[in-house]
């Protein structure tokens, strides 16, 4: 063992699934000072170990699970981890985070991360405990959904509720659905860019981590305690989440035209007050399901008390699920959103992509492109929640024409159907879909822009809006001003990516300043906000270099026709983000240190970030 490195366990486990060999890599100080952890370490490993020509389902692709220096400490919500891989939605880099317990337990079991390479001959599970990794047969688990898998694994190990953290794939990951997720700890998901499909391609059904007895070395526990309380106060003050969960913003999103309604065919959803977080927590029975050491406890279990799904229990739909299984599919029954949320998680699908795919199919059905023949007998009229439930199962198992088609994701499905239907599909030209909003609405243009220019396979600078005032930058004064939008996205980029390196839930620590104080208390370093942003920019730029090597064309950094269309009604009617898109993109490139025309990082930027060795024309 090397010298104690505050904030780090100092070890990565690498599992070669082809050979069954497990080895350890030592993390040294120079590496973590450059890449921090989480998304940063994931980006480094992708860039160094996955060369061009390796496809997402190749054994030589990597699937990297990394926590971060704050994971497993006394901080509230410090169970977060990051997954990085070359993903099937884009054939480019994907980084995705999940909360719960896994990130903390990984560290308490002695590791900062787990790197999977190769492909197992037979389906397996991995069990991480006491500083080692065991490869075990997954016999009897195939075909089980993610929650059943979790239960079966716990039973096999004789483990209690919080003795282990289990993240698994459901049928979607087994069947190579391009937007399969990795699901664990009852309702937490790493869901972007098909990380679950990659796990399935490696024939890993589940990863289990015991709550170990290692301790995360912390430089100044007292300072961490104080900074953690500051994070807590910031979290309580952030929007309406503290009281109403992420669904607390649902109605204001409706009032700003930012709810996705029937695949963007309208922006009007007058039923929003009966479908928001306030109604959900007032009418239904709710119980807390906190993540690791979390005092915010925004995650709940809920039992429906009225309507057709009365008595149904599942995890509380967060904003994304309320939007996906409410307005996007034309549903106005709140109980049905609970049912569909549980269904999606158990099947192991990304909720966003699934709802955009199904909303698009419903529009195709409404307009006669799909008939009962194409839908294999399903009535896909708006609001047909039982048809949606059936269709989700077919997608996850690639059953029938429509199940197989939609399993490819919105972009590929719509291009295969072609004609006018192709124009109705909502996605970025890189291949993935946005999160669950109508980003054409008020206050969400930054997220639309960020979604398209991001190198992560999902959002990058944005999260629940953009918050330049948190880092003393001028606020976004006019939400429909093109220049303002590219300015806030470019100048704020890096801060949230730094967060994604830390192993902490963003809802527990939404404000960058107290979060940085926690980071410094744990590591004993004395980083400034500028240092944090530079670290985030290094990760973004590394992912961009990876993407460029793997064939990314920056011309694809734009929305599909429907995603970038002009709202036909509602609060944002007539607002057109595309009228100055090229200008915005050039401005963003310039602010990021990329060539304003080509989008390629400049030599000066690579030098500043210490990435010269990875330059497009280097070695």
């Amino acid at each position: 063992m090397g010298e104690r490195l505050n904030g780090y366990m100092g070890r990565l486990a690498e599992v070669n699934l082809s050979s069954g060999c497990v080895k350890e890599d030592i993390l040294d100080e120079a590496t973590v000072k450059k890449w921090v952890g989480g998304a940063g370490l994931g980006a480094k490993i992708l860039l160094e170990e996955v060369p061009p020509g390796i496809e997402w389902d190749s054994p030589e692709n990597r699937l990297v699970f990394t926590a971060g220096p704050l994971a497993g400490t006394m901080m509230f919500g410090s169970g977060t981890f990051n997954v990085a891989t070359k993903g099937p939605m884009t054939n480019l880099a994907g980084v995705s985070q999940a909360n719960g317990y896994f990130g903390a337990y990984l560290r308490l079991s002695g590791f900062d991360g787990l790197v999977l390479r190769g492909r197992s001959e037979e389906w397996v599970t991995l069990w991480i405990h006491d500083g080692r990794v065991e490869i075990r047969p997954a016999a009897g688990l195939l075909g089980l959904d993610a929650w059943e898998t979790e239960d079966a694994v716990r039973a096999e190990l004789g483990a209690g509720e919080r003795d282990v953290s289990v993240f698994a794939i459901g049928p979607a990951g087994e069947h190579g659905v391009r937007y399969a997720a990795i699901v664990g700890d009852r309702g937490h998901v790493a869901s972007k860019n098909g990380v679950g499909a990659v796990m399935g391609a490696k024939r890993v059904k589940a990863i289990v981590v015991s709550r170990g007895s290692f301790e995360v070395p912390v430089y100044d526990p007292h300072a961490l305690r104080l900074a953690n309380l500051e994070c807590f106060e910031a979290a309580k003050a952030f929007g309406t989440t503290w009281k109403w969960g992420t669904g607390g913003g649902f109605s204001n999103l409706a009032r700003s035209g930012a709810l996705p309604v029937k695949n963007y065919t309208t922006s009007l959803y007058p039923e929003h007050e009966s479908m928001n977080g306030q109604t959900l927590r007032t009418k239904f029975e709710v119980r807390s399901m906190p993540c690791f050491r979390c005092a915010i406890s925004h995650v709940k279990e809920v039992t429906v008390t009225e309507g057709p799904y009365a008595g149904f229990t599942g995890e509380e739909p967060e904003y994304e699920q309320l939007a996906a299984w409410g307005p996007q599919i034309g549903n106005t029954d709140l109980g049905a959103t609970v049912m569909l949320t549980r269904e999606v998680d158990r099947l192991g699908l990304d909720c966003n992509e699934a709802s955009w795919a199904i909303g698009w199919a419903m529009e195709c059905f409404e307009k006669g492109v799909f008939t009962l023949s194409e839908t294999d007998g399903l009535d896909l009229s708006w609001g047909s929640v039982e048809s949606v439930r059936t269709l989700l199962g077919r997608i996850a198992r690639r059953e029938g024409f429509l199940g197989g088609l939609l399993a490819e994701g919105v972009m590929r499905a719509s291009r295969k159907v072609g004609g006018a239907a192709e124009q109705w599909a909502i996605y970025t030209m890189k291949g993935y879909t946005p999160r669950g909003h109508d980003h054409r609405g008020g206050g969400r243009w930054p997220e639309l822009f960020d979604t398209c220019v991001s190198d992560t396979g999902t959002i990058q600078a944005a999260w629940s809006g953009i918050h330049p005032q948190f880092v003393d930058q001028p606020p976004l004064e006019d939400v429909f001003d093109h220049a303002e939008v590219s300015r806030v996205v470019g100048d704020f980029a890096g801060y949230r990516t730094f967060d994604d390196c830390l192993g902490i839930c963003r809802l527990a620590a939404p404000h960058p300043k107290p979060l940085l104080a926690c980071f410094n208390a744990v590591t004993g370093w004395d980083w400034t906000l500028r240092d944090a942003r530079e670290a985030g920019l290094r990760v973004i730029t590394a992912l961009r270099l990876f993407n460029l090597r793997h064939g990314h064309d920056p011309k694809n950094e734009r929305p599909s026709a429907r995603y970038g269309s002009v709202p036909v009604d509602g609060p944002a009617e007539g607002r057109d983000i595309m009228s100055r898109w090229e200008e915005m993109r050039s401005d963003y490139y310039r602010r990021m240190g990329f060539d304003p025309k080509t989008g390629i990082p400049t030599a000066e930027t690579l030098k500043r970030l210490g990435l010269e060795a990875y330059a497009p024309n280097a070695g």
Partner: protein, 98 residues
């Protein structure tokens, strides 16, 4: 000329978990603009209202949006937009969620 009655709704504060659903009826002189309305509200703002309204700016704090009769109104149009009897103004933070 009598004042016009403008209905104003504050839809959720960013810094506390509650919603003020009850709208205000605010009298405004003929020819009064959105800027005039906000200045009037800001001048009387108590501690709670100052989470939304900034007396120094004589208007909204930067993180808030405004719709007039269900349509967005840019801040640059506040000084030139004259309010009419029965107009509904809704003010809310750049929405969180997701």
């Amino acid at each position: 000329m009598p004042d016009r009655e403008i209905r104003v709704f504050f839809r959720g504060l960013p810094s506390e978990a509650e919603t003020r659903e009850a709208g205000l009826e605010v009298p405004l002189a003929e020819g009064g603009t959105v800027s005039d309305l906000l200045e009037k509200l800001a001048s009387k703002a108590d501690e709670k209202d100052r989470l939304i309204l900034d007396p120094k700016r004589k208007g909204l704090r930067p993180e808030f949006l405004l719709t007039l009769n269900g349509r967005f109104l840019e801040k640059r149009r506040f000084p030139v937009t004259v309010l009419q009897e029965g107009d509904v103004v809704e003010v809310f933070p750049i929405p969180t969620g997701g």
